[in-house]
C-alpha cells in the first residue's frame, strides 16, 4: 500500500482508512548521508489478524527516532528508512504486497511478523527475489517445513526466530506441575494443519511425560456445538484441558463448557493460539479469569531492545501511552525483529550487499527484547528458537484494565522471573 496496487472494490473501505496514513507510511530517519538502508516491514495491520500489528506503527516511529542520527557500519554512516506494507491478514495479499515492495521500493532487507499466514508468503517472495528476510512469531516448524524446508539444502535468504511446536511438551510439563491434578488431559484439537500436527506430536510427548491424554477428535473450525467433546472430557474426569482452537472458536467452547459443568471440574484450562491478547479475555467476561496461556514476551521480561534503546517495561509502557490500549506481546516480539535486523546489518560489514547481509544472518547471535537469538545453534539452518513462558490471566488488582497476565512457569526460560503462582481455574476468578 505504499504504491498503487490493484484495489478491489471490497478492499476499498479498508484502503480508504489507510490512505489517510499513506504519506506517513514510510518512516525515514533524518540522515545526513547519501546512502539509506531501506527496510521493508510486511505485517497484518488490518483484518482478523490486525491485533498482531497494532504496535507496528508506533514501533516503526520509535525505531526511526532512535536511529535518526544514522547508523555507522564498516566506517560508513547510513540513513534508515522503514517502509510498511499491510497484508490485510491474507496470505495471498502478503505475497503480493511483498513482491510489490521488492519491485517498487528495492528494500535492502524485509522483515515480517506474526502467524505462518504472514511469515511464509513473505519469506517465499523474498527467497524467490533474493532479498534477505527475517521473520518471527510463528512456530518455526510451520515456517521451515511448511515452506518445504530441507536441512540439506536450506533457504538462502530467509531466516526465522520463534518458539517451536516441539517445545510445548516441556513447557506444559513445567506449567502443569505447578498444581496437583490427576494428570488427565483433555485435548481439543481442530481438523486443521496445526491441530493435526499437534495431535501426532504433542500427545505422544505428553504421554511420555506421564500425562494421560483424551483426544476428542478432529472437529471442524467454526463449529457452534462442542457438547459432545465437553461430555467426553467430563466423562473421563479431565482436570486439564489443552486447546489449540481457531481463536474465535474458543469463547464458544468455553461458554458451553461452563454451561455443561466442565469448567467447574477443570483445574487448568491451557490455551494455545487463543488467549494471547487481553481483548480476547475481555470478551469472555467472568469466564476469562484464570485461563492459562503462553507468552513469547512479557512486560516483565528481564530483557531490553538495543535497537530501540528500551527495556521491556519501557516497551510496554510506551505502547500503552502511544495507543491508549493495554500492552500486548507484540511490541516486544516485533522490537526483537529490529534488534536482529540491526545486528545482522552491523555484522554484514556492508548493509547494501544483500549476500553479505544474508551471510551474516546465518551465524548471527543477537541480544534482543525476547532474549538471545542464536542462529548458529538453531535446530535447522536459518532457524533460531526463543522460549515460551507459562501465563495465566487473572483479575487485575488495580489499574485501568480488567485482566492482567501473570507469568506462572518458566521451564524454558529460567531467567524470567515468575510473577504469580498458578491458581486452579474457578468461574469468576
Amino acid at each position: 500500500m505504499t504504491k498503487h496496487t490493484t484495489i478491489s472494490r471490497r478492499r476499498f473501505g479498508a484502503l480508504a482508512g489507510a490512505a489517510a496514513l499513506a504519506p506517513a507510511l514510510s518512516t525515514r530517519a533524518a540522515a545526513q548521508t547519501d546512502e539509506v538502508i531501506r527496510i521493508g516491514w510486511v505485517g497484518p495491520r488490518s483484518g482478523p489478524l490486525g491485533i498482531f500489528g497494532e504496535a507496528d506503527r508506533w514501533l516503526a516511529d520509535a525505531f526511526a527516532a532512535k536511529q535518526a542520527g544514522g547508523v555507522e557500519i564498516g566506517g560508513k554512516t547510513y540513513g534508515i528508512e522503514v517502509i510498511l506494507a499491510d497484508t490485510q491478514s491474507d496470505p495471498l495479499r502478503a505475497s503480493q504486497e511483498t513482491r510489490d515492495l521488492i519491485n517498487g521500493q528495492n528494500p535492502d532487507i524485509v522483515i515480517a511478523s506474526s502467524t505462518p499466514e504472514t511469515t511464509n508468503p513473505v519469506a517465499d517472495a523474498c527467497e524467490a527475489a533474493g532479498v534477505p528476510c527475517i521473520t518471527t512469531v510463528a512456530p518455526w516448524e510451520a515456517f521451515f517445513f511448511g515452506r518445504g524446508g530441507d536441512p540439506e539444502n536450506p533457504f538462502k535468504w530467509t531466516f526465522h526466530f520463534s518458539f517451536g511446536a516441539g517445545d510445548f511438551a516441556p513447557f506444559y510439563n513445567g506449567q502443569w506441575a505447578k498444581l496437583e491434578t490427576n494428570k488427565k488431559v483433555g485435548m481439543l484439537l481442530p481438523n486443521d494443519a496445526d491441530g493435526n500436527a499437534i495431535r501426532s506430536n504433542l500427545i505422544p510427548a505428553l504421554e511420555g511425560l506421564g500425562f494421560e491424554c483424551f483426544d476428542a477428535g478432529p472437529y471442524e473450525n467454526m463449529t457452534s456445538d462442542f457438547s459432545n467433546q465437553i461430555n467426553f472430557f467430563k466423562k473421563n474426569g479431565c482436570e486439564i484441558i489443552n486447546a489449540f482452537p481457531f481463536p474465535p472458536d474458543f469463547p464458544v467452547f468455553w461458554r458451553q463448557a461452563a454451561q455443561l459443568g466442565l469448567a467447574q471440574q477443570v483445574k487448568i484450562m491451557q490455551m494455545a493460539k487463543a488467549g494471547l491478547f487481553a481483548a480476547e479475555m475481555e470478551a469472555m467476561g467472568q469466564l476469562g479469569y484464570g485461563l492459562a496461556s503462553g507468552a513469547y514476551w512479557h512486560r516483565l521480561f528481564p530483557t531490553s531492545s538495543p535497537s530501540l534503546g528500551m527495556s521491556s517495561v519501557e516497551l510496554a509502557d510506551g505502547f500503552e501511552a502511544a495507543t491508549g490500549k493495554q500492552w500486548t506481546q507484540q511490541p516486544g516480539a516485533n522490537a526483537a525483529l529490529f534488534d536482529v535486523l540491526m545486528a545482522a546489518l552491523g555484522a554484514s560489514g556492508n548493509p547494501k550487499d544483500k549476500a553479505a547481509v544474508a551471510g551474516a544472518c546465518r551465524t548471527l547471535v543477537a541480544d534482543t527484547a525476547v532474549g538471545t537469538v542464536d542462529f548458529a545453534n538453531g535446530p535447522m539452518p536459518g532457524i533460531a528458537v526463543t522460549p515460551l513462558v507459562g501465563t495465566q490471566w487473572v483479575k487485575a488488582p488495580d489499574g485501568p484494565y480488567d485482566f492482567s497476565m501473570e507469568i506462572t512457569s518458566n521451564a524454558l526460560a529460567p531467567n524470567v522471573p515468575l510473577t504469580a503462582a498458578l491458581k486452579p481455574y474457578r468461574i469468576g476468578g
Binding site: G13, P48, M222, D225, K235
Partner: protein, 326 residues
Amino acid sequence: MFDGVLQALLQGGLLGGYYAIIAAGLSLMVGVVRFINLAHGDMAVLGAMVTITLTEVGGVPVLWSIMIMLPAMALMGWVMHATLFQRAMRGGFLLPILVTIGLGAALQNGMFGLWGSNTRSLGASIGELSWASWILPGGIILGKLPVLIFVTAVVVIGALHLMLKKTKLGRAIRATASDPEAAEMCGVSSRQAHRAAAAIAVTLAALAGVFLAMRGQVTPYSGPAQLIFAFEAVVIGGIGSLGGTLIGGMVLGVSQSLGGLISPQGSLLAGHLVFVSVLIWRLSRDWARDHGGWRASLAISAIKLRRRLTGGAPAPDRAPSSKGAA
C-alpha cells in the same frame, strides 16, 4: 453411555429450536408465497450483524437492539418483496433463484465491506446467560440459553400458527396460498398477503441470526450454511407445515448430536444423511403411491433389477415397457 445419549438427545432437541426458527421463515415463503429465497441465511446474518453493531458500537442493551432490529428487518422484507421478489416471480421458475442468489452474494459482500471479515458474537454482551445452566436431578444439565431459544421457537411457531388460523391477515395469506386468483376475486389482495409473509419470514430469519450470534459466532459468510440447515429442517418436517418445521428442526438437531457421539466429524454428516434419507423415503413413497402401493412398486423394482442382472444390459427399446419404467 446411557446418560451420554440422553444428554445428546436433550442438547440436540434444544438445538432444534434454533433450526426451527430459521426454517419457519423459509417454510412460510415456500409454502405460502411459493418463493424460494436463497438469501434467507444471509438475512439471518444481517440481523445478527445489525444487533451486534447496535449493542457494541451504539451501547444499546441487547434486548433493545433486537427490538429495534426486528421491525427494521420486517420492513426490509416487505420492501424486498415489493421491489424485487414480486417482479422476479413473474419471470418464471428460474428467475427467483438467480435473483436471490445474487441478493445473497450482494448481502455477503456488503456485510464484508461494512464490518470486515472478523467473526463476531453476542456471547459477551449477554453475560451469564451465555453459559448459565440448570442442573436437574440425575445430573442432566440444561443450558439456559438453549432452553430460551427452544421456548422462543415454540412460542413463535405457535403464534404464527394462531395468526394464520385466526386473524384476517392469516386467512388472506392462506387463501392466497391455495388459490391466488380465487382469493383476489373474493377481495383479498394477494400482493399484500405475499408482502406480509415476506416481512414475517425475514423477521424470523433475523431472529434466528441473533440466536446464532448468541450461542456461537457469525461472519459475513455464515449465511449459506444456515440456509442449508433451514432447508433440511423444512424438508424433514414437510414443506409448508409449521408444526412439521419444529419437528424437522428437532430431528435435525438430534441427528447431528447423535452423529457427534459417533465421531466429532459425524455431526454434520449425520444431519445431512437423515435429510437425504427422508427425501428418498418421500420420493419413493410418492412413487409407490402412483404405482399401486408399496408391494406392487417393490415388485416392479424387483423385476427390473432381475432383468438387469440376468439379461446383461438389454437395450432399453427391446425391454418390454412396464408402467414403472416410464
